[in-house]
């Protein structure tokens, strides 16, 4: 069995879901998402955690242009495949209490987006990667713009233009790389074995970096993000923050750094500093937020900034300092951040549908009337602030460790995310859940049914991964080591 079944099933599912209306569409969509998860589970059970790419599919596609449908799963892809297939059913389940009009189209778009995301995470061909990249963008644009809030039109066209512009430069970069290969191929390993000079790698760096930096997003290309997150329907926000932004991080790991290490050497410090600025900037703004959803959006910006910072701790004074810890931390933190941020957005979705507001200052005392909800919220907050024995801890610890080995001062500044994060997260928790109830919150009903299920699964994951992250780290260990060695060996002979 090859990975192609994993890529095409959501497309088929999307077409099937289109035929259904309202409640039926939810169930059908969930059914397919769970099957997809089961499939991913099957792949996981057959996966050998070594350096090879497994379940490969390699079929001719556009032979006139040297394009092949090449995809497969290695240790790095596996983490992202788990993330995507795990979160999509949770996200669909989290919408069970909503009644979106045109539900068939809504769920079809989510499943279609899943296909695009999985294509990005498994593509081993530059052209396919680009197709997946855009195939994930179109559905989310329509999800946000059709089912979003008041300001959705303006905000989303901005979002679309930003990401589309970034990715077009990446396309130019991919075609350029293709032209450099002897065999005129788009194959990833063909790109890896190129011998580009430092100047060319510098250009490639920019072509890819723009696309990835917009997606993550890295300061100052982040301006689309808080508005888009706020205006999007809850499921759309979760898809974007939970999975879509990982496309950018994954792209840096899989494409940018191995293909253009000399470009990263040259401009990596700039990227690192921008990431750190982003961390501090987002944290400070998060402090001031009254709107819960915006607060989560900015906190997500800060956390992702830390991941980006660790990735760009690459070269210092001409010696190679890219560490396994930093990269492993980035991978596991992608998974953890996905789980936590989906949890947080779901919590705020629950609050805002019940109270019709997201203004923290109007709330208080919800813990008294909704104890189950309070526990779940607390666990998710603790996971987000990276308390030891929660999932956030292991990732952020490894990331900070990576940055620390690069430069202690940058690590100190970057480490502020954890402190700042703890402050504004716990403060918002206190504001919302503790203290006396008021007129607004006294009628808050506790979570039930699908909400319990979703939050229960998320909390269980937070704790289980927090206590025993080893199996996940083990999955990517060999692939990460291999990647670091190959990048290292690419830099040395050129020195």
């Amino acid at each position: 069995m090859t990975v192609s079944i994993l890529l095409f099933l959501p497309v088929v599912a999307a077409l099937v879901v289109l035929l259904f209306k309202n409640a039926a569409a939810k169930h059908v969509a969930l059914f397919f998402a769970v099957i997809e998860l089961a499939l991913a589970g099957y792949f996981l059970s057959r996966f050998v955690p070594d350096t090879t790419t497994q379940f490969t599919v390699d079929a001719p596609w556009i032979t006139a242009a040297g394009i092949y449908f090449t995809a497969g799963i290695d240790g790095i892809s596996m983490i992202l495949v788990i993330l995507t297939t795990l979160l999509v059913p949770l996200i669909i389940l989290s919408t069970y209490k909503h009644n979106y009009k045109n539900a068939g189209a809504f769920y079809a778009l989510i499943l279609f987006m899943q296909a695009g995301l999985l294509t990005v995470f498994t593509a081993m061909d530059g052209f396919l990667f680009y197709i997946g990249w855009e195939a994930a963008l179109i559905p989310i644009y329509f999800i946000n713009a059709l089912w979003g809030g008041e300001n959705r039109i303006k905000v989303n066209i901005k979002f679309f233009i930003y990401t589309f512009a970034g990715s077009l430069f990446m396309l130019v970069g991919i075609i350029f790389l293709h032209m450099q290969t002897d065999a005129r191929t788009y194959d990833l390993h063909g790109f890896y074995s190129l011998n580009l000079d430092a100047r060319q790698q510098g250009w490639i760096f920019w072509a890819f970096f723009l696309a990835f930096a917009v997606k993550m997003p890295i300061f100052p290309l982040h301006t689309w993000q808080p508005d888009t997150y706020t205006e999007a329907p809850a499921a759309g926000t979760m898809m974007m923050s939970g999975i879509m932004l990982k496309m950018g991080i994954y792209g840096v790991i899989r494409w940018l750094i191995p293909i253009a290490p000399l470009g990263v050497e040259k401009f990596g410090l700039m990227a690192l500093i921008l990431s750190v600025i982003g961390i501090v900037y987002a944290s400070i703004i998060a402090f001031r937020q009254k709107d819960g959803k915006r607060l989560v959006a900015y906190s997500s910006l800060a956390h992702v900034g830390l991941i980006a910072a660790a990735l760009f701790t690459f070269m210092r004074d001409g010696s190679f300092v890219w560490t396994t810890q930093g990269l492993q931390g980035a991978l596991i933190q992608m998974l953890n951040h996905g789980i936590n941020v989906v949890g947080l957005f779901f919590v705020w979705d629950i609050i805002s549908t019940r109270l019709n507001t997201r203004d923290i200052s109007q709330m208080g005392g919800i813990a008294r009337v909704a104890p189950k909800f309070a526990i779940a919220f607390l666990i998710i907050v603790l996971g987000t602030v990276a308390l030891p024995l929660t999932n956030g801890f292991i990732g952020e610890f490894l990331l900070l460790n990576g940055v620390f080995q690069y430069n202690i001062w940058i690590a100190a500044v970057a480490g502020l995310t954890m402190i700042f994060g703890a402050v504004y997260m716990l403060r918002s928790y206190k504001g919302v859940m503790q203290g006396p109830t008021n007129e607004l919150t006294v009628t808050f009903t506790d979570i039930s049914g699908s909400e319990v299920l979703v939050l229960g699964i998320i909390c269980a994951l937070i704790i289980v991964i927090g206590i025993y992250p080893q199996p996940i780290l083990h999955l990517s260990q060999a692939a990460v080591n291999n990647l670091i060695n190959s990048v290292h060996s690419k830099i040395i002979p050129l020195k």
Binding site: I62, A64, L168, H178, M179
Partner: protein, 461 residues
Amino acid sequence: MNTLIVLSVLPILVLYLGLYKAKSALLPVTVVGLLLALGLAIAAWTKHDDAVPIYHSMMRFDNYAIAFSSITIISTILILLLSKEYFERISSHVAEYYAIILFSLAGIIVMVSYYNLTMLFIGIEIMSVSLYILAGIRKNDFASNEAALKYFLMGAFSTGFLLFGIALIYGASGSFNIEIIRDWVLAHPKEIDPLFYTGIMLIIVGLCFKVGAAPFHFWTPDVYEGSPTLITAYMSTVAKTAAFAAFLRLFGACFQPLSDFWMPTLLIITVITLFIGNITALYQQSFKRMLAFSSISHAGYLLFAIVAIGGGSANSVFVYATAYSIASIIAFGALILVQQQSGTDNFDAFNGLAKKNPFLAFVLTVSMLSLAGIPLTAGFIGKFFVFSGALSQYHTTMVILAVINAIISIFYYFRVIIAMYFRDSEREQVAVPVYYNLVLGLAALITIAIGVYPEFITSLI
């Protein structure tokens, strides 16, 4: 070559049908005739492209000619299927429409298969004269008259340039035959006559006018807006595709060795065309005018393939022109329906369309995404081939400029999508005839099919 014969006899037959008032037979006969012509063209396709010049080396019906003949015939069929009841509404002489369109198509077949510069000229004239008439076919409408007059004057002017250019080439090389001209160029690499260079420049001017490239584009918006919408669709898709096919055929065959000389000129024309088309389109309130200006910018992308002339150029132009034609037909078809209902062609007329006509809104969205070059649609494959071709010749700066234009174009193509899906309006359902659904649905299907698996059209040439 039987295609050309069929297409020359068919319009005469149609005229006679009109004479005997056999109105209901017009469309079926035309479509069957076109299908026959298409079948004959496809039957002439050979795997190794070993067609020989025919008619004393006047024409050569090679795979290039077959591919472009086929796509122009297919586009014409789609447009004519949309014309049912449309021509009746705007004129009483319906047979004229069909006949003149078919005559121009005969000219187009000559344009894409010529092997001699005189045939190029004759083909362009057959097409252009037919188009002048079509533009002015609403005899009592001032806009239509103005369009025809403008088109005719400017067209006649540019034809003069083209003819002068051909004459100079003849003067320098001693032949009209493109094979002999090419051999002459290859034989005298160092001693090309200045006459020859001047000839190339004049031909560029003449052809750039025909394809609507800036700064020779001034006729396009007015002519496109003044002509009946379906005729605009025909002009901006079929006629434009043919003009590019003719352009590339000449430059690919004869002038490629001299590309150092003419390339800078064409490069500048391309950049100006892209920016003028895109930026002007951005400021339009009318959907039809937007399409007119965006067609200028698409001409810019197509010129790119000629600038980066090489083995892949034919394929790039073919794929791009196909994608562009099919998507434009959807756009114009939807425009006709909406215009009929609301009486205006402004963007506002599309507000809330998705609620009442989900299918129409969907196909128009596919069309807009394809025109904007979004992946999984044919338009992306076209842009991809054009960009690849340009990068293979190291026109990196140009590609960056083209990318910036692609980003600008998002704004105006998405305006339609935004109007249809995200803006509300009190509107009635637009009545969509069955054959519209069929044609638009088919066109959308082709657009997506090419976008997902372009292999079946990229291996034709």
